[in-house]
């Protein structure tokens, strides 16, 4: 199905007024290709015909009317318990937010386990979401921390809604847990420190949470001790809610409370100027709430505020210090807050006076340069507070440090004081004071040195992290620019963007995969194979959609080591993929017949799954409609099944499936011809073999002519199909004709055209 040629014939034909001349032109242009002639004639017929669906004005009645909840519920009802979403079976719905719904689900393969499945509501760019997730996936996979819920996977549902698969955490939100278990101050602070460590761990891997709030921190009891788990790391970014205040404001009703945790720079609506220090701010808000029972900027005020007022409050208003907030509580509320923290109301504010105030206010600084530079530093200060050491948040003064010293050594000092009093002698007192003064000075010098060293290390770590973050960010931007330019067929620009990405973050597999993909699309096989080898060398998770065709190009360009490494990974992974990426990659290489038989079985199972109405994944698609969506996959899998049968030595079945693939509607229609020729040859049908080979030959010529005619380095069929066809046609020539085909001069010409696309 060569769309580009039918397009050029169609355009030419439009310019010919006389119906007779037009028909003659079309006849001649299709050059005896009956399929093409039928296709073009159908187009011309449709062009003349009235009543095309796009001619009628769009029915305005399709516009939404009901209230939000109506739409949401209707789409939520697409997911009753028992529905299969990928390999996950939904069980119960456990949550709903502005973004989507959360389900408990049972994963069936490769391992059986319960997971939490978050389905994003329709209306967010699903392809974009998954692409962004892919970009972050490697970093997310690197996170391994007892206080972070793992994110396992992301994909799209049948109705094109993105979903995330996460570790299932059965817990309650942080603040709720603290109050219902009546944790005292130090228990609260201990728990909070574990959260800081989790956030620190993620930051070191280059992941920013962007949406830290109590409902994203779930606490359970494990062995009688509270265990906090931060959920949704990496999700906020992927769903592309850059969580600017606008997006939050527009969904205010469903996300009440969220603006309270938002940093001033997030409120400033700068779309992508969010870094790890925004999370530090949110940690400050959390600590504030854990200590006082309310957020720094009271939620009822935020809720009552208009959009601009809301922004102003978050960016400008200084919240009261936590101790001040507590002292202004009215009696009832103070009692609740105190009871929950096992304190008597009077000691409530003195308990956290000053030091905790300093810690919280430092994290909440409007200027992010003055906040803690890392979550670890914040945890460190909380820990110092708990062990009565001087904290960093506070500008040190001698009196302050000495006061701390006295509290730490309370018993010793009072004994000494009593003795001193008993002696009444001023001399003894002076001696003691002198000794203590020296000791304090020494202590100060040491502390200062330690503090300097720690600060230096922290600064270095921060710069390193910031550099990595910056590089990752700019890489993501460059890749997006590359894709956009490639979509608009500005090849040189796309290539330049990808190339820059390979320079900024050369250790990132995706930059090589994407540039290789562009090269392959343009028909530049050699350089594409070099890029792909790089990616293979770096290593990557095997479920990448970008892997389609990679193995084939490596094989075609003779990068056999990289090809073997990749196929080894394919062999060991066990993903059921409707695009048969792994199977196609392996089939171009050498394969034992039992291995081929396994691939054939799998493709057959995939086909029967697509065909079978009782298949649970097809539940929400009436048969006809489902077929239309799945037509493409169906064609691909017919071809893959036939190919695998051929390699397994099952020739009759191979021919049957391959011929079916030639009748199915998919872009690679026709690329099965060389394989059919080989199958006939193996069965001893010399005549059929030659006939099919000739057919394959004429398809090759047609595609080459088409490329040359359009001055392009590759024909309009997908490059995966094209490279496989080239490999298999060559193979068919050897098997059927007994010799490698002479290099077609047109092939060389096409190669030149391919190189020229980037050169100019």
């Amino acid at each position: 199905m060569a769309v580009a040629s039918e397009k050029s014939i169609f355009f030419q034909a439009l310019d010919i007024a006389s119906p007779r001349e037009r028909a003659a032109y079309v006849q001649q242009a299709c050059a005896g290709n009956e399929d093409l002639l039928t296709a073009v004639s159908a187009l011309l017929l449709e062009n003349e015909r009235d009543g095309n669906p796009v001619d009628r004005p769009l029915a305005a009645a399709f516009l939404p009317t009901g209230v939000q909840i109506f739409d949401d519920e209707a789409s939520a009802s697409q997911f009753p318990p028992g529905t299969m979403v990928g390999p996950y079976q939904l069980m119960e719905r456990i949550g709903e937010g502005g973004f989507g719904w959360v389900f408990v689900a049972q994963q069936q393969s490769p391992i059986q386990r319960r997971v939490a499945l978050k389905i994003i509501k329709p209306g967010m760019e699903s392809r974009e979401v998954i692409a962004r997730f892919e970009a972050e996936r490697q970093a997310i996979a690197l996170m391994d921390h007892p206080n972070i819920a793992r994110v396992f996977d992301a994909s799209v549902t049948q109705s094109a809604q993105p979903y995330f698969v996460m570790e299932l955490v059965r817990g309650v939100p942080l603040t709720e847990f603290c109050d219902s278990h009546q944790l005292d101050m130090s228990e609260r602070l201990e728990l909070f420190m574990t959260i800081c460590h989790a956030v620190q761990h993620a930051h070191q891997k280059g992941i920013i949470h962007r949406d830290l709030k109590p409902s994203n921190i779930l606490v359970t009891l494990q062995d009688g001790k509270p265990l906090a788990k931060v959920i949704d790391f990496g999700v906020a970014k992927a769903i592309g809610q850059s969580l600017t205040i606008k997006t939050i404001y527009t969904r205010f009703t469903s996300m009440v409370g969220t603006p309270a945790y938002m940093s001033p720079e997030q409120a400033a609506m700068s779309t992508d100027d969010v870094d790890t220090r925004s999370d530090i701010y949110s940690l400050g808000v959390l600590l504030y709430e854990v200590l006082t029972g309310s957020t720094p900027l009271a939620p009822d005020r935020l809720q009552g505020a208009g959009f601009d007022e809301l922004r102003r409050i978050i960016r400008e208003e200084e919240p009261p210090r936590p101790s001040a907030r507590l002292s202004t509580l009215d009696n009832d509320l103070a009692r609740t807050v105190a009871v929950n923290r096992r304190l008597v109301p009077e000691t409530l504010s003195t308990a956290m006076k000053r030091d905790l105030d300093w810690i919280v206010m430092k994290a909440l600084d409007k200027d992010r340069n003055r906040r803690y530079s890392t979550a670890g530093a914040m945890a460190e200060d909380v820990s110092r507070f708990l062990s009565d050491q001087p904290i960093n948040a506070r500008p040190p003064s001698t009196r302050y440090r000495f006061a701390k010293f006295i509290r730490r050594n309370k018993v010793a000092i009072s004994t000494v004081s009593l003795v001193a009093l008993a002696l009444i002698l001023g001399t003894a007192m002076s001696v003691w004071q002198a000794r203590e003064a020296i000791k304090e000075r020494d202590e100060k010098v040491i502390a200062l040195r330690e503090a300097r060293a720690a600060e230096h290390a922290a600064n270095e770590a921060r710069t390193e992290l910031e550099k990595f973050n910056d590089r990752l960010n700019s890489t993501t931007v460059l890749l997006a620019a590359g894709r956009a330019n490639a979509d608009a067929q500005r090849w040189a620009d796309a290539y330049a963007a990808y190339t820059e990405a390979t320079q900024v973050l050369p250790k990132y597999f995706l930059v090589w995969l994407e540039r290789g993909g562009l090269n392959a699309k343009l028909g530049r096989w050699g350089v594409a194979a070099t890029d792909f080898s790089k990616a293979v060398e770096i290593g990557f998770p095997i479920e990448q959609a970008e892997l389609s065709g990679v193995a084939q190009v490596l094989r075609y360009a003779g990068e056999l080591d990289a090809y073997d490494t990749l196929c080894d990974k394919f062999r060991r992974s066990d993903v059921n993929d409707p695009m048969a990426v792994a199977a196609r990659g392996r089939l171009v290489g050498e394969l034992s017949s039992p291995e081929a038989a396994t691939l054939a079985d799998r493709a057959e199972r995939m086909l029967s799954g697509m065909d079978d109405e009782s298949n649970p994944t097809a539940i929400h698609q009436p048969k006809a409609k489902f077929h239309r969506y799945a037509k493409m996959f169906y064609g691909v899998n017919l071809y893959v099944a036939g190919w695998a049968h051929l390699k397994a030595g099952n020739y009759e079945r191979a021919i049957q499936r391959l011929e079916e693939s030639n009748r199915a509607v998919w872009f690679g229609r026709g690329i099965a011809d060389p394989l059919i020729a080989i199958a006939h040859h193996k069965m001893g049908n010399a005549e059929d073999a030659v006939r099919c080979f000739d057919q394959s030959q004429s398809m090759l010529f047609r595609l080459l002519d088409e490329s040359i005619e359009q001055s392009k380095g590759s024909p309009s069929i997908p490059w995966v199909d094209w490279v496989e066809f080239l490999i298999n046609h060559r193979e068919a020539s050897i098997v059927v004709k007994g010799h490698t085909p002479a290099v077609d001069p047109r092939l060389r010409q096409v190669q030149k055209l391919a190189e020229a696309t980037i050169a100019d």
């Binding site: 439009l14 769009l58 209306g123 760019e125 239309r628 969506y629």
Partner: protein
């Protein structure tokens, strides 16, 4: 300066990632506007998607900014896509109501009844055909979104896509014929 204007400027300055932030904003605004209009306007009054898209533009970008057309191009491309999405989601919702799965949970709204079931199927078919067209001719499918879903004229579409009106006319003829062929072959098959 509004957030949308800010994003448009970022795109203009070559920040391709900013484009991703545009769609959700435009989508939300269009939905809000549509719902508001449908409630407040007298029954039977036709509300055209194209009017909505232009009103959303004035609301989100403001008319006083007078940005260059190139700038507006990104907006209308996003608006057309958002409009398509809104209409398709609602068509899907109607279809699922029609199948009766949720009758006891949802009242059928009055205007649900006005729409012919055939229209719903036709729109959904058109949508999937268009998705297929986008696979081989992305620019053509964009053109259909602009003209059909956002109601732009030939000249406006030409500005948005950065091609001549003549090219738009020819491409439109092809896309229209292609879609017609796709939809009719499905009826036969």
């Amino acid at each position: 300066m509004s957030e949308v204007t800010q994003i448009l400027n970022q795109i203009q300055q070559g920040d391709a990632a900013a484009a991703a932030d545009l769609l959700p904003l435009v989508y939300t605004e269009l939905r809000r506007l549509a719902r508001h209009k449908m409630k407040s306007e007298a029954a039977g009054q036709a509300l055209q998607p194209t009017a909505l898209v232009h009103e959303a533009y004035v609301r989100l970008v403001g008319s006083e900014d007078l940005p260059k057309w190139d700038n507006r191009g990104h907006f209308f491309a996003a608006a057309a896509e958002a409009m398509r999405r809104i209409l398709i989601e609602n068509a899907r919702r109607r279809q699922s109501l029609k199948r009766g799965g949720d009758r006891k949970r949802f009242e059928v709204a009055e205007d649900d009844a006005i729409i012919d079931a055939g229209d719903v199927d036709e729109l959904l078919d058109l949508d999937s055909a268009l998705t297929k067209l986008a696979l081989c001719e992305p620019e053509m499918s964009k053109l259909v979104e602009l003209r059909y879903f956002a109601g732009l004229s030939v000249e406006e579409s030409a500005e948005v896509l950065g091609v001549s009106p003549r090219t738009v006319k020819r491409n439109w003829a092809f896309a229209r014929a292609w879609l017609g062929r796709e939809l009719n072959s499905d009826v036969e098959g």
